[in-house]
Amino acid sequence: MPSPTLAIARHELRTLSRSRGALAAAGTTLLLLLASALASLDLAAQAAESRARQQAEAERQWQAQPDRHPHRVIHFGTFVFQPLGPLAAIDPGITAHTGHSLFLEGHRQNSANFAEARQSSVLLRFGLPTPAFVLQALAPLLLVFLAFGSVAAERERGTLALLRAQGVPGRTLLAGKALAHGGVALALLLPLALAILLAAGGEAGALARGALMLPAYGAWLLAWSLGAILASALLPRARDALLTLLGAWILLVVVAPRLAPLAAEALHPAPSRLAAELAVAADLAKVGDPHDPNDPNFGPFRARVLAQHGVTDVEALPVNWGGLVSMEGERLQGEVFRRHMDAAQARERAQAATLDGAAWLAPALALRRLSMALAGTDLPGHQAFVRAAEEHRYAMVQALNALHVHKIRRQDDRAQRVGREHWLAMPAFHHAPPGPDWPALLPAAGALLLWLLLPLALLPLAGRRLDREARA
């Protein structure tokens, strides 16, 4: 004889399995989840292959440059691509919007391009959602649909009184319902686990991070199931419970995650792209023109260099003055770029911190934060890539400027060439994405846990209310 809790859970699952509507909804969600996982894995593989091909092509073009003046090489530039981890297929995070490739060249700091949302096929923009989207946005709807009548419908049918007459306490009834619907919620993790296994391949780190996605999504889904049971127990009619839960879904899944970034933007406003570029251009103008060896902005630098070499004219320098100006100009421009980049990234981090705060009220934000961090597609990952790309750009440009300084004579500067072996020997861009910043993820984990514990703590109270209700 199973315990009453188990009997109720088994009965609930049997009831669900006999409801065509429930079966259709659950089947559709599972199918969508599986299809999105497989499609996302395929798209990610295609994207990785495309990035590898483009990276190889960029390197081929870089290496195919003939003997030429190093400054022409600086302007030739090259592309670098953000390496995306295997779990990006599960949750593309902000990379879908920020882009994952940068064009590196002298005197300029370009922003990332080729965001999936802007560049990819119609399929990605309007077709199948990602597994993360299905679990974050659609799966709660399914759980609400399955559980909104779990208690209220018993009340409406009159079977609640029958159960009470069999001596079933309210808390036992709710525990049984929670066990059944919690089981359904956790069953939705199976396609996710499969997708993680397929995405991670044999990569231990990705597997470990993917494994941590399961409790995060599990907590989210369980919170919805328990919340739906709670609403069903507290509200008199199933229809009231459904409307309340749909309202909660709209608020927590649709509205709050869109309002919170607006609030973050209002609290930490970022200039428009045009304004930001104008601000950088204004600061660059103060540096001077590094292409002009006679630019008066480089007067103090000229005096310093002449004094250093003990000469009075740049003609007497043992190195190429034009190259030195180009190098100093890049140094000063690099400082401008870094200053603006640091400010922009600090602003982005402040906005992200605001979202972290908002996650206590909007748990979808907490889940997204965790999911993106574990997938390696969050803001810190993108910022690290942008910083690494800037460091690589600066090192590359200054190495070419050094060639200009030492390998090119001042006379007839622009007509000279250096051997292509110099850029063939330059290191390619390698960027190891940083792992998740675990301490920074604690607030998001805490917020998610709070939203799980809240209905869990309220269920016994609802059980006592059911007991009182039966007596009324």
């Binding site: 009997a7 109720i8 009965h11 029958l162 001596g167 007596r471």
Partner: protein
């Protein structure tokens, strides 16, 4: 042996007096039909025995136990069949019984469910059909089968023949007679005067929150239906329990 015993029970609900000194008892092997108009306190009486409500004063006992103090023990000794036999339409008769028995903590012997369904008069071909396809009379039999399977001494019935056709009512009454003969005490609350007269050993008229009159079945015509009807139709005193 007295199975259910209410002594001078007073109860107000929502500030309104519902029971005003109700006293009654149900003994082993008898059917007590409690008649009364809407709001007379018939279902309230059942809720007191189930322990869902506590009296403001007076005493409620089921097999000598206080339902408020020992609800689990009391519910193990009685079976309750609510009005309209609210059961699970998507489950079969057999599944309904198995599920509700497991919740009641009963551990029936193998075949007890089928035996109860048979004794309740449900044909075997209906045992594995979903209740959503049952008539009200058939569903009522399943509810009674639940009580049989639990093998409890006291049966509480709330408007058991409401909505049943005459044939189903007659079958149901015959079933109650069988249960009574097996020693089960039955308290049924009903509007159905004729139905009550057909099966009850005693008929109590609940009026003004108390047992206004009680009739005992006699030999030959069991009850004087005219007297019953006159008692049933007597108006409640204004301002008192409806």
């Amino acid at each position: 042996m007295t199975l259910a015993h209410l002594t001078d029970v007073h109860l107000r609900l929502g500030g309104r007096p519902v029971l005003r000194g109700l006293s009654l008892e149900v003994r082993r092997g008898e059917v007590l039909a409690l008649l009364g108009g809407n709001g007379a306190g018939k279902s309230t009486t059942l809720q007191l025995l189930l322990g869902f409500l506590a009296p403001d004063s007076g005493s409620v006992r089921v097999t000598g136990l206080d339902p408020r103090r020992e609800p689990a023990a009391v519910r193990a000794r009685l079976a309750y069949v609510p009005e309209n036999a609210a059961l699970y339409g998507q489950l079969t008769a057999r599944e309904n019984l198995s599920y509700l028995l497991s919740l009641a903590g009963a551990d029936p012997r193998p075949g007890a469910v089928e035996d109860a369904l048979r004794r309740a008069g449900l044909p075997a071909e209906a045992w594995d059909r979903r209740l959503s396809t049952f008539s009200k009379g058939m569903a009522q039999k399943v509810a009674i089968a639940l009580a049989l399977a639990r093998d409890v001494p006291l049966l509480l019935l709330d408007e058991p023949t409401s909505g049943l056709d005459p044939g189903a009512t007659a079958e149901f009454n015959a079933l109650l007679g069988t249960l009574r003969d097996a020693g089960v005490g039955i308290l049924m609350v009903t509007h159905d005067l004729a139905g009550a007269a057909a099966v009850a050993d005693r008929v109590g008229l609940l009026r003004d929150g108390r047992l206004a009159e009680e009739f005992r079945a006699g030999p030959g015509p069991r009850f004087d239906l005219n007297r019953l009807h006159a008692g049933f139709s007597a108006p409640a005193r204004p301002g008192e329990a409806a």
